[in-house]
Symmetry: C2
Subunit: 577 residues, 2 copies
Amino acid sequence: MKFLRVNMDDLSINTEAVSKEYYGLGGRGLTSIMINQDVPASCDALGAENKLIFAPGYLSGTTLVNSSRLSIGAKSPLTGGIKESNVGGTVAADIASLGITAVIIEGKIKDDKFYILRIDQNGQAELLDAAAYTGLNTYDLVKKLKADFGDKNSVTCIGTAGEMKLKTASIQTSDFDGRPCRAAGRGGLGAVMGSKGIKALVVSRGGKSADEPVDNNTFNKAAKAYAKAVKADEFSGEILPELGTAVLVDPINAAGGLPSYNATKGQFENADKINGDALASRIKKRGGKTTHKGCAQCIINCSNEYVDEKGRYVTSSLEYETIWAMGPMLGNDDLDVIATLDFLCDNIGIDTMSTGASLAIAMDAGYKEFGDGAAAIEMVRGIGAGTEFGKILGNGPAAVGRHFNHKRVPVVKGQSIAAYDPRAIQGMAVTYATSPMGGDHTAGWVVDQNLADFGGTLDPLSDKGQVDASRDAQLHMAAVDTVGICDFAQSGLAAEGGMENVFSMVSSKSGKAFGEKEWAALGSRILKAELDFNKKAGFTNKDDRLPEMFYKEPLPPHNTVVVVSDEQMDSTFDFEE
Amino acid sequence: MKFLRVNMDDLSINTEAVSKEYYGLGGRGLTSIMINQDVPASCDALGAENKLIFAPGYLSGTTLVNSSRLSIGAKSPLTGGIKESNVGGTVAADIASLGITAVIIEGKIKDDKFYILRIDQNGQAELLDAAAYTGLNTYDLVKKLKADFGDKNSVTCIGTAGEMKLKTASIQTSDFDGRPCRAAGRGGLGAVMGSKGIKALVVSRGGKSADEPVDNNTFNKAAKAYAKAVKADEFSGEILPELGTAVLVDPINAAGGLPSYNATKGQFENADKINGDALASRIKKRGGKTTHKGCAQCIINCSNEYVDEKGRYVTSSLEYETIWAMGPMLGNDDLDVIATLDFLCDNIGIDTMSTGASLAIAMDAGYKEFGDGAAAIEMVRGIGAGTEFGKILGNGPAAVGRHFNHKRVPVVKGQSIAAYDPRAIQGMAVTYATSPMGGDHTAGWVVDQNLADFGGTLDPLSDKGQVDASRDAQLHMAAVDTVGICDFAQSGLAAEGGMENVFSMVSSKSGKAFGEKEWAALGSRILKAELDFNKKAGFTNKDDRLPEMFYKEPLPPHNTVVVVSDEQMDSTFDFEE
């Protein structure tokens, strides 16, 4: 248990013991509580006072499956509020295996130089001049870093978008095959990393000094039971390995909640060209991989490897949210175009969802035609090339809306919504509006409770029960993001005895009692810290609103608007006292 | 006394009697009180709910000299607050001479078409299809309008910047020679005009139905006395006719208050190349005009006509604020470049001050070198051409700052400051910070009270007395902008018995008693309305602050920062109860 503290003011690196208040925390719990405590809420997100924190989940680096989740926290340059963006790959397991609880980057470089933060197999860290790596996109960067440092390293890096400090820049991590295709995409944390002058973290995969659970036997027993439940579940054990998250295209489209043509329609007429079946059959036909291991210790393998007609690698992994953002949102039904855009975003180091929304707004404003895939590719290449218009796109949907004086901008707190239209799935209206993260789906994904296809019992077009559902989901997810269990492995939590398995792992790791009460308290503590930060940063309940389009423009085919009232939105965090 | 109300929703035009609450008002008093009353403060400035009001001063169209001042009011797309921008030329006298108290444009065109609002010599108005004029810059536009409607018209128009709804777009009016070189530059009102679909007002210069003063004799006597005082004053009677407002370059530079190189220096090393003497001698040598009548009924003739080496017209009138914005602010000492930039801005229809600040920020951020005049011209041409980068520049300094992640952005409420650095002239810090108009110099020009050269008795580097000076000036100016007396003819007010002359003109026009008490009440009533609007629009005292650069970056040569405290700023409008 140690913090690695890197100060870019003087390029110093210090190792320090984890202070007591952070015991039992990892992931989002650690980053959010520390950001709230140590970062002045009114600071410049790209200035010296902001901190960029990399924290593996509390269960990362243990024997538990699907636990290599890295939370990255900072004040967001995109939303102006607190941000935790989490990402898979291998790095979380690796950092945890070195006995490092969190890597904290603070201060600001004096010049515009970039550095590599190298952490070797003994957990020793050093800052190395990154002149030879500066200006590289992520795929070339990883190739060069592996050539110079060896294959047995995880890379966590920024592309040129992060170097340019674009407000939707992502932080990319290398996947199980060593490709920088896993993204901490939301909130522009790549820009924060760029402002700190860190081009990449190169972390040895050879760590052996992980924090051992206090009671190893009990831990391993619970971890095994958890893995068994994930395997036994139909969704995580069969559907996701076969079709990946693209399986969501059909039910969300059927529900009229797939935002298309910059969220002016809720159904995409060519959804069958981009759905799970279409994706899987194309990949298979071309000799790519539909079942693919993207993250360390993953037993679901929901990832895929998309290849071109000649079987050459295009991108990995093509996921539902990106398919939406680069597909229906742009009126584009060409999977090859979607895959190319996904690769370009990973390579430039920019969020696919925000970028899709940026392009959609530009198209909606008349800059290019909807459905023009070549134009979309050209626009994204412009982001990477750093053209002035590319910078506008890279600064996100709100910047594009301002640029074109275009009012249909589907963002909350400056961040784009995801692939669920809140007019057709009202529960997501609450999550988008109230999450301290801004427009975000993972913060409280209540689609399952809204749609009968998923066993949901709420009416997706009604406000009834939506606030409670979103609140519970948000509290729950804050805890899930803290222990570091992959969202898609939540089947293990939902299984009979699943929560008890997690409680057992946490308590046997920490040596302290942990149960339902502590789980609830953990979620509440984290959300309170995040809300507190945002309040200090100047947010009011007026920021917990959707843009006007969702209240005023009925969405076909249901022709409904968001009906959750302002009062209901404001009651979401009534647990706050 | 009538209002001309033009509704762009249905293209209807109605004439209505002026309601009692607006009796005795004109100019800023009328626009601000009406905007505050009739425009929802939270509305989209470019939407149907905003209103664009053209109101001649209360004394416009009378026998008083230097009174052709037109106030244009609306919610500003640049600041998000209330805006009155006033302008000279001939139009205010012409509108008033038609017996029109104000022209009110409301609603929003359904398509993207543009119209000409034509007002003939009988005060009859009609909307004409402007397809043949759309896309024209102001000089070509005026030429074509005069060809089509005759020379005897005043034109009030937008260029392409206004059509594109750029947030620093100006509204240009034709001068005494019929050139569109007079600008209501501040606050992006050209974008509001563009959003209303009005390309130009074409107002007959043949109006004869002006509101007659109730007591003509008394009025004319006071007006004559006023004119005499303006002529007798050394500044307005001799210096301004000879050197124009460029005469300010030397004393402001000497005071260390000429913001140079994006306000990183308070003195410009080559000020002698761009000062009043340099300008006048160059114009004379080339056969241009140093003494030039720009506005109807002007007896000062501070305008000039700048010509090139071959004696060909370049621009009119080259004024101090533009010389600053396109000169020292950009590190540029070439008067030809400054004149070309001034012409381009007038022609495109964009504010020279904001544009200078936009260019300066881009240069400061490393986009181009300071002093590169060709680059500056290319950038401004890009605004007119509607390139994507041009749009960023045209959306103003704050947009440029966001685009480049550049923090040194000298704006208040989104609007650039003017040619007086608040670190060297602390009184201007108060006016910039607290004026409801955003960063603005005319709202409360207390340079004279700060600099001994102008007879000032305040210490320009001290906070002492600055709040009182700015408050008094702001209240006074609100009344001056209401009666419609040219700022440079204020010598008439300052002369012995000058205020009484104005009181006499107002009371003999209205037939109601008007004196010092009413003058003070007028200023207070207007500022209260403006502050009320801004409060409803969401402004708080946090918006009454200068950007951090002025508090944190000492300005050479005095190496001082702004010392007026937040508490002092907040006490500026303590008259408000």
